[in-house]
């Protein structure tokens, strides 16, 4: 096998992994801090992709600008989801919250189909079509930018969680919400911030996805599957672990893509998931522990 092909696969694996990590980190945060399984997470990824498409078509805004616009907008949407839906189901069973979010996912998906139809789209962004050639290595400029964007967002989120008081309070709420409340933390407000951040990172991940892949309203569930996979491999609420898990899965996908027939790629990734769970010895329970 030519070395260039292998190098290209490794580079592509890194780029893919960074975007997977960005898509997953919000799900990990929401689940890790609040114990909420946001079934609508991937629908917000999809909406992020269409948000980038609309801004590009209507205003000519490049995706890097769309990310800046998506962050506050979808943060607000996430806060509204928490206030209007999750808080109302907080005192009921976990299954009720799950169902409500599943319902929201269906509403968002079908609403998107009504607006954008089921056609598959690509971002008509010329800069993204460019290919950088270094020696024999060829890398899509769009992928490079998407990965850079993902890495930046992940590092910013990690910084916020580790270095700011708000981040420390969020981690504290994830570990012991009652103890945090006793210290004067309004847990319901922190919950709004966490869901807002989760939805915002999902939408920003959606912009990155649009820079890399074709997208359609009904095809978002694959991102939910990837996000769950990374959450299980990386553990809940751990931004750096999610990043490492994304890079691992990206490498596995890219390398098995050149070494094996395409239909085996997913089998390899899920075999990796199974091995991770077996090696941990405690299966899914290890991922469920809220160790932020």
């Amino acid at each position: 096998m030519p070395l260039t092909l292998l190098t290209e696969a490794v580079v592509n694996g890194v780029l893919l992994g960074l975007v997977y990590a960005l898509i997953s980190v919000g799900l990990s945060l929401t689940l890790g801090v609040l114990g909420v399984v946001n079934m609508a997470h991937s629908a917000f990824v999809m909406l992020g992709s269409f948000f980038a498409l609309e801004l590009l078509l209507r205003l000519g805004a490049p995706p890097m600008l769309s990310v800046l616009a998506a962050a506050p907008l979808f943060f607000g949407v996430g806060m509204a989801v928490d206030r209007l839906l999750l808080r109302r189901t907080a005192s009921t069973s976990e299954a009720m919250g799950l169902l409500v979010l599943f319902g929201l996912m269906l509403v968002l998906e079908n609403g998107a189909i009504l607006v954008w139809t089921t056609d598959t789209r690509v971002l008509p962004w010329q800069m993204g079509q460019m290919v950088l050639a270094m020696g024999g290595l060829r890398v899509s400029f769009g992928r490079l930018l998407a990965a850079g964007l993902a890495l930046t967002m992940i590092l910013v989120l990690d910084f916020l969680l580790r270095r700011t008081l708000l981040g420390k309070v969020v981690r504290a709420v994830g570990q012991n919400p009652d103890a945090a409340a006793v210290l004067g933390v309004d847990v319901t407000r922190i919950s709004m911030v966490v869901v807002g951040a989760g939805v915002a990172t999902a939408a920003m991940g959606g912009v990155a996805v649009a820079m890399m892949f074709p997208f359609a309203p009904q095809e978002h569930l694959r991102w939910l599957a990837w996000a769950f996979l990374l959450v299980i491999v990386g553990g809940l609420g751990r931004v750096r672990n999610t990043l490492v898990a994304g890079l691992l899965v990206g490498q596995l996908e890219a390398l098995s893509g050149i070494l094996l027939p395409f239909q085996y790629v997913y089998a390899v990734v899920y075999a990796f998931l199974a091995i991770t769970l077996i090696l941990r010895g405690r299966g899914l329970q290890a991922a469920q522990e809220r160790t932020l």
């Binding site: 420390k168 309070v169 009652d178 006793v182 004067g184 309004d186």
Partner: protein, 243 residues
């Protein structure tokens, strides 16, 4: 040493409360924790002592009756706003944030303070509890039970509360660590703070208290000064133990 002119009084008036609609834990409890004094709340397991503290701190709303702090009815004030009223609460059991460092645990305690006051509050706590300096970068979860308890107490003290609720502060601790905690409780009382203490160790609690209440089956049973209670202590404990 009295650090305050006058600490607030806690007054619990005819409180009825419970965790489930069909279950009433407290059935018309009354008590007064006098300003600057240590009031012990004692009783057998399941008598409702911890529930009283949860009601006083706003973690459980009373169905009937009221809680007054410093002359204001605070029954409907949510728990996260109690710090702003000058209150502090040490819950039963472990409550450190285990993967946060000791310093980060203390920082969470500064959440309600103005940004400019946070560093000074931490410095004051390190001065008060010098041992914490050595542990500041360690995850709180790896400390011993006694060390974790000191972190929890220090974290509560970040806001310098004038009213302090302590729920079994020595439960599960080794005797040496328990003794250190009792010394700290005595210091809080000497500083003129209003302390309401729930404890299973009747002898230790009574020796620290100015005034003692006992509960049984969610109702007031006995009350009196330390001296009055000490005379009846053996009989009361024998009754609780049914021996």
């Amino acid at each position: 040493m009295d650090v305050y002119g006058r600490s607030p009084e806690i007054r619990v008036v005819d409180v009825e409360a419970g965790y489930y609609p069909e279950q009433t834990v407290l059935q018309g409890v009354h008590l007064v924790a006098r300003p600057g004094q240590l009031t012990a709340l004692l009783g057998p397991n399941g008598s409702g002592k911890s529930t009283v503290l949860r009601v006083v701190y706003g973690l459980l709303r009373p169905r009937r009756g009221a809680v007054w702090v410093d002359g204001k009815d605070v029954s409907q004030v949510p728990a996260h706003q109690r710090v702003g009223l000058g209150m502090g609460y040490l819950p039963q059991g472990r409550s450190v944030f285990p993967s946060l460092t000791v310093e980060e645990n203390l920082e969470v305690g500064t959440w309600t303070l103005l940004r400019v006051a946070r560093r000074a509050a931490l410095d004051r706590v390190y001065e008060r509890y010098p041992a914490l300096r050595a542990w500041r970068d360690r995850p709180a979860g790896i400390l011993s039970g006694g060390q974790q308890r000191m972190v929890e107490i220090a974290r509560m003290m970040v806001t310098d509360p004038r009213v302090i609720l302590l729920d079994e502060p020595t439960a599960g601790l080794a005797p040496v660590a328990a003794q250190e905690v009792y010394e700290e409780v005595a210091r809080l009382r000497r500083e003129g703070r209003t302390v309401l203490l729930v404890d299973q160790n009747v002898r230790a609690a009574v020796s620290l208290a100015d005034y003692v209440y006992t509960l049984a089956f969610g109702r007031n049973q006995l009350e009196g000064t330390r001296e009055e209670f000490q005379q009846r202590m053996h009989a009361v404990v024998r009754e609780w133990l049914r021996v």
